[in-house]
Symmetry: C2
Subunit: 165 residues, 2 copies
C-alpha cells in the first residue's frame, strides 16, 4: 500500500436531506461552537432545522455543501450567492459554517473543499468570495491566507438571542 | 427655529427602481470605495446593475434599503437573510454596502439606519446580525461597537476579478 492509497477519496457535492444529521454532528463537534452552546448533538432534528434545510434546498442562492468519503460525511460548508449593485452588479459568494471532521484534519481536505467552492464562485461569475472566522481560530487565519484570502476586514457580530445549539 | 427643526426627517424603506442611481452615487462617494475603482458615478446604469437590482427586488431574502429625506436619498444598505442549520435553524442577517451621504454624517443618521435594520432582523426572528467593515474604517468600528456589535471575527476577502466600479 503506498501513501497515495491512504488518501481518502473525497467527493464534494450539494447536501441531501439524508446528510443533515451528519452535518449537524460536524457543526456541534468543535470547541468554539461548544462554547456557543452547540455541544449536544441532538438525537432527532428539530422541525426548525428541517425547515432551514428545506429553505436552503429550495433557494438558488443558498447551497449546503458536503464532502464525503464513501458514505461518511467528513466536511461541510454553506454557500450564499448575494446579488448587489457594487462591483458592476456582480454577485459575491459568502462561505459560512465550514467544518472538517476532527479525525480528518491535517490532510489537506479543508483546502480541497475551499478551493472547490472558489471554483464554484468563478463559474458563477462572482467578483468576490468572503467569509468571517472567529479571531480565536488562529490556525484558520493562516489556512485562509494560504488560499489567497486577505484579512482586510473586521467581522462584527450582534447576537439577538441565545439558541440552544 | 429650534435645533429640533433642523433635524432631517429621515424615512427608511425598501428601495425602488427610481432610487438606484442615487444609491450608486452613495456607493461611489467614498474614499475607500474610490481606491477600489468605484470613483466614477456612471451617467447611465449598466444592464448588469439593473439585473442585480431586479434580482434583489424579486428575492425575499435580499432587501436594498434607502434612507430618504423628502426626495433625497441620504443613506443606503443591503440586507440578506440567510437560512442555516446552526443556531437551531434560525436565520442570520448580513448587512452590506452601508453608506450615509458625506454631507449628512455626524448627525446620528447612520445609527438610526442600523438600529432600524436590527429591528427588522428581530421581527424576522434572526438569531444574529453580522457585517464586515474595512480595517481602515476605524470610525466605523467604534460606531458598530456602540450599537452593540462585537469585533469577534476576522473578515477575509478573496477578489476573483477586478471590476470597474
Amino acid at each position: 500500500m503506498t501513501a497515495r492509497d491512504k488518501l481518502p477519496i473525497m467527493q464534494i457535492r450539494i447536501a441531501t436531506r439524508a446528510d443533515v444529521p451528519a452535518v449537524l454532528s460536524l457543526l456541534a463537534d468543535d470547541h468554539i461552537s461548544r462554547d456557543r452552546g452547540f455541544g449536544v448533538v441532538p438525537e432527532s432534528v428539530d422541525a426548525a432545522v428541517w425547515a432551514a434545510f428545506e429553505a436552503i434546498d429550495a433557494d438558488d442562492r443558498n447551497e449546503l455543501i458536503v464532502a464525503v468519503d464513501g458514505d461518511e460525511v467528513i466536511g461541510t460548508c454553506q454557500l450564499t450567492f448575494i446579488p448587489g449593485l457594487s462591483r458592476n452588479g456582480a454577485e459575491r459568494m459568502l462561505i459560512e459554517a465550514v467544518r472538517i471532521d476532527v479525525g480528518r484534519r491535517g490532510q489537506g481536505l479543508g483546502g480541497e473543499l475551499i478551493r472547490w467552492t472558489i471554483e464554484r464562485a468563478r463559474e458563477r461569475g462572482c467578483a468576490i468570495v468572503q467569509l468571517t472566522t472567529d479571531k480565536r481560530r488562529t490556525d484558520a487565519h493562516r489556512f485562509y491566507t494560504a488560499l489567497g484570502f486577505e484579512a482586510s476586514h473586521e467581522g462584527m457580530k450582534l447576537l439577538l438571542r441565545d439558541t440552544n445549539r
